[in-house]
Point group: C2
Chain length 220, copies 2
DNA sequence: GTGTGTGAAATTCTTCACAGCG
DNA sequence: CGCTGTGAAGAATTTCACACAC
């Protein structure tokens, strides 16, 4: 390893910073301080600067703040965020088609080139501008198209099978919107985006908050 | 505080466990061990048992595994997850309407009773079965309807204003699907569900994985 | 003076190890 | 004998404090 081992929280924060830098850049902002970034991410400036230490030397210039463009390029290069990743969506219900249309994802570099559904005649499919295939062709299409990322928006009971097919086709990353964990072989990265659990967590915090006068909410 | 301070990771895991217990219950499963739950959440059994210590005594019986129904009720009671929460959606684009239709959320207790959009004539609005109002009425409707939770699915530039109106109306919880942080007064709970950042994090992990032979992926 | 960079301290979280129960 | 429950140990992360640069 040429670089120090990067901790998971650090990767997560830097990804957030990267997204934020993109916004700042498009607004024409040139400079940003660790204090400001910390405030926007809900953490301290120390934390931000500590995270930046994994980017190597000279990310910022002491005294002046960080250069938005330069810092963004550093993160992009360090994490390989510059390239476009070919992706597909499995499960073309309301959520799946909404995501297929989601322009911000495309702007971030996620190029959705195929969709799959077990019911090829779904009404929704006519609304999206990508080729649609039946679910049993997942592995084959993924391999032929060089798809690296799969977006899972199927019902719970179909999630594992869809995952297996994606993995068999060779995807390296899965964004799982199904409120259930899926098993993957070591080496495949899964990010779970589970709005049911998020809803439950939020509800729980509300209960805990009203229960004690502590500043629980500040820490969330 | 009658109970010990509960850490944030613990709340998150228990919310996941709660969701999982719901699935197990509907499948008719009666008993579940900490080992099994740990496996399904991707953590160790020690961690699960430690988390359960915040539930008070007798959550499980030593020797036997945990009773699914009983444990679920304990978590439900401890975190106030039993009740239905009245909610609204701000931003009725593709994503917003997809979420309004999302049945699992309703089953979890989230009762979406109103929708808002700055463009009241949106085509999508005819597809959802809830009353739709113009955005400037958010505070008023939220207050009149006793809405506690707001779901944000507006474009980035409208997120803060929508948030302000929700807070002014009295919501306590916001599920923010906008890839940008929003400011809220202390006491309001925000959960960010940001698929852009998740995409970036996943991409970063893929790069880091290929860079070193460490078992980075196991830790994600 | 304002802001970055980083080793050290403090805190938080996870893992371990083992007592106790069915 | 497998499983729960929990204090103690260990690891990881965050926070602090201060040197250095503009």
């Amino acid at each position: 390893m040429a670089y120090p081992q990067i901790s998971i929280p650090t990767v997560q924060r830097l990804a957030q910073v990267y997204a934020r830098l993109g916004e700042l850049r498009s607004k024409g902002t040139r400079k940003v301080s660790s204090t400001q970034l910390g405030k926007e991410l809900g953490t301290g400036s120390h934390n931000i600067r500590k995270d930046f230490s994994v980017l190597g030397e000279g990310a910022g210039q002491a005294g002046a703040a960080y250069d938005v463009e330069f810092l963004r390029n550093r993160i992009q290069q360090r994490f390989g965020l510059g390239r476009t990743i070919r992706a597909c969506i499995v499960g073309l219900g309301r959520l799946g088609t909404a995501i297929a249309d989601y322009d911000s994802l495309r702007k971030a570099g996620c190029d959705i080139v195929a969709g799959f559904d077990s019911n090829i005649n779904r009404v929704e499919t006519i609304r999206i501008g990508i080729p649609v295939h039946p679910a049993y062709q997942i592995s084959q299409v993924v391999r032929n198209e060089g798809i690296e990322l799969g977006i899972l928006t199927v019902p719970v009971f179909g999630a594992q099978e869809a995952t297996n097919r994606l993995v068999q086709g060779g995807v390296q990353v899965i964004l799982n919107f199904v409120p259930s964990k899926v098993d993957v072989p070591s080496g495949v990265v899964v990010r779970n985006i589970d709005m049911i659990t998020e809803y439950l967590i939020a509800s729980a915090f509300v209960t805990l908050k009203s229960e004690s006068q502590n500043d629980t909410e500040e820490r969330i």
